[in-house]
């Protein structure tokens, strides 16, 4: 108790210096937390992927499509439970800044494969019944204040023209990591139009989504699918949904690496700031440490005092930083929600914040403690007066 009291009082001996150090740690932990959340957001698609789903795409590139006729062949492969398909529509809502991920899908099979997109039964039925129907995620509906029954015009980029959809449902994510920013509509609606305007692009899909009976069969089923279409006009590449999502992340891996580096740089900078405070503190008190040694206190007592003070200051800053991370992440997430559909502070990030703060406090206290413990009593006493 006595040592805790001394640590607490020592910490606030120079109130301004301590407050500025705490402010620095708070900002650093806040920045670290936001950057870690950003990295997690980058990988949110990977996190949300299922091990029971495979993705089949054109072996040349995702840009090239696959024939619809593959569907039945894939369904016949052992280990395949159900098959769906989708195509990236890339439509723009009003202006380009209103980015919405939008896909043409086969509604029934798609929603069977993605039970995490939860729709009320009546909305689901309405979606299935109407070919012009679309469903949107909760976040995107809130963002544009869409209501059921609204007409949503999308300006096609990959498929020219203006496409009007009727909003028949708003889905919610079953998990925190579920993307609620997408818009889905009937592939049939798109295909019928293509048959009239550009028949050579009709009856094509972007990807097949394959539900498998057992996640352990993923390698065998993937191989079997690709083998089936070997030497065809559109050879396939099948991989787990996780690998498929990772391939997107790997395209921007350099950016993620830079963000991670910056987050660690923030910690290194704050180590220097706290170490500077602790070195100044210990230098000012070297006479007091000599007095304590004179009275019979050992090196361990001094180490407890210095490490304790460093830990106390750092943890106050860390706590404030963590508390500020939540509202900051909410504001940040709202601003960039279109690009990062899942932007929430994870428990893992909080543990990383605490771990980083403890590391900072320990590293910052090493040199001052070593100096205080090593200094000879007579030499320390000479510095007084």
């Amino acid at each position: 108790m006595y040592m805790l009291k001394l640590i607490f009082r020592n910490a606030f001996r120079h109130k301004l210096r301590t407050c500025l150090t705490i402010l620095g740690i708070t900002i650093a932990i806040l920045a670290f937390g936001i950057l870690r959340t950003l990295v997690n957001a980058w990988y949110s698609g990977v996190e949300a992927s299922s091990s029971a789903r495979l993705i089949t795409r054109n072996a040349i590139s995702l840009v090239f499509s696959l024939p619809l006729s593959y569907k039945e062949k894939i369904r016949g492969i052992p280990g395949v439970k159900n098959v769906s398909y989708a195509i990236w529509f890339n439509g723009t809502y009003i202006s380009e800044k209103n980015f919405i991920p939008n896909f043409a899908i086969d509604p029934k099979t798609f929603l069977e494969l993605y039970p995490e997109y939860t729709l009320p039964e009546d909305q689901k039925v309405a979606f299935f019944r109407d070919r012009m129907a679309a469903v949107a995620g909760r976040k995107v509906a809130e963002r544009f204040s869409w209501k059921i029954g609204d007409t949503i015009p999308l300006k096609g980029t990959n498929f020219p023209g203006t496409w009007n959809f009727i909003l028949r449902g708003i889905y919610h994510g079953a998990e925190k990591s579920t993307d609620e920013t997408q818009l889905f509509f009937h592939w049939d609606y798109l295909n019928e139009s293509l048959k009239k305007t550009t028949p050579n692009r009709a009856d094509q899909v972007g990807i097949y989504i394959i539900g498998i009976t057992n996640p352990n069969l993923a390698p065998e089923v993937s191989e079997a699918v690709d083998k089936t279409f070997k030497n065809s006009l559109a050879e396939t590449m099948t991989e787990t949904e996780k690998a498929f999502q990772l391939s997107f992340v790997s395209m921007t891996e350099a950016i993620v690496t830079v963000i991670q580096l910056v987050s660690f740089m923030v910690i290194i900078i704050i180590i220097a700031v706290v170490a500077n405070t602790m070195v100044m503190t210990a230098r000012e008190r070297i006479g007091e440490y000599a007095i304590m040694k004179t009275l019979g206190f050992g090196g361990w007592h001094l180490a407890i005092l210095i490490f304790g003070e460093s830990l106390f200051i750092t943890m106050v800053g860390c706590t404030l930083g963590i508390l500020l991370t939540f509202p900051s992440a909410k504001i940040f997430g709202a601003k960039i929600g279109a690009y990062f559909p899942v932007f929430h502070v994870s428990t893992n990030t909080i543990f990383l914040d605490i771990g980083a703060a403890i590391l900072v406090s320990l590293i910052a206290a090493i040199f001052p403690t070593w100096h205080a413990v090593k200094i000879r009593v007579a030499e320390g006493l000479r510095r007084i007066g």
């Binding site: 006595y2 009291k5 001394l6 009082r9 020592n10 001996r13 006479g287 007091e288 007095i291 304590m292 040694k293 004179t294 009275l295 019979g296 206190f297 050992g298 000879r376 009593v377 007579a378 006493l381 007084i384 007066g385």
Partner: protein
């Protein structure tokens, strides 16, 4: 009568030098003398004569180059740093020129500090601290911080801290050097009481001949060499 007392401190052939780069500066040269138990001894001499160094060696806060110091029969020059720290906590009370109190602790807490190294209960510690502060007439200021006390009062708190563990030896390095005449008289009077009534052996370094008059024995150091003036 004083000559018949057993020596509590026996110093033999003690030498100490400091190093400044390659240069060796001798501070104490082949010093030998005894301090009888219960005596009040003053160490005098000009600045740089080695008196504070000698005091530090006797108190076990510095190491000699050669020679021995026996305190109550124990050769403290042979102790390790850890053992010396433990020995100091039990046997020596320190009074410094600049009081050296911890500014963030109250008078009570400063006096309590050395007792944290003992097995005393909180209640026992409280009793010891109160008794020590009573002895220095500062019981009514126990909740004051050093910054709220005068120099003389701070030095009295330092004396209470020095005696609270009931050490056999009190070492004082210029205890009146930072005080006005009246406060200095108070402190010297208090030290005389501790010596006379509580039998404490006091070793005091001072420049001040008036302060030295309170001592029973005066030892004078000149350039590291000891002269004896009883």
């Amino acid at each position: 009568m004083k000559d018949t007392k057993q020596p509590i401190v026996e110093i033999r052939n003690l030498s100490k030098s400091y190093h400044r780069g390659a240069e060796i500066i001798p501070v104490l040269e082949n010093i030998s003398f005894d301090i009888p138990e219960g005596e009040f001894l003053a160490l005098m001499g000009p600045s740089g004569s080695g008196k504070s160094t000698l005091l530090n060696l006797i108190a076990g806060i510095d190491k000699a180059d050669s020679g021995t110091i026996q305190v109550s029969g124990l050769d403290i020059t042979s102790l390790t740093e850890t053992d010396l720290t433990r020995w100091r906590a039990v046997n020596v009370g320190f009074i410094f020129q600049f009081y050296n109190l911890i500014p963030v602790l109250t008078a009570f807490e400063n006096v309590e500090l050395p007792l944290l190294l003992t097995w005393l209960s909180r209640k026992e510690r409280w009793e010891h601290v109160e008794a020590a502060l009573h002895m220095v007439n500062l019981a009514d200021r126990m909740d004051h911080y050093p910054g709220q006390l005068s120099g003389g009062q701070q030095q009295r708190v330092a004396i209470a801290r020095a005696i609270v563990t009931d050490p056999t030896i009190l070492v004082a390095d210029e205890p009146t050097g930072d005080l006005d005449r009246t406060s200095a008289e108070d402190i010297l009077g208090l030290m005389a009481i501790l010596n006379r009534e509580f039998g404490k052996t006091i070793i005091m370094v001072t420049h001040d001949p008036h302060a030295a008059e309170k001592a029973h024995i005066i030892r004078r150091l000149e350039k590291g060499i000891l002269n004896v003036h009883a």
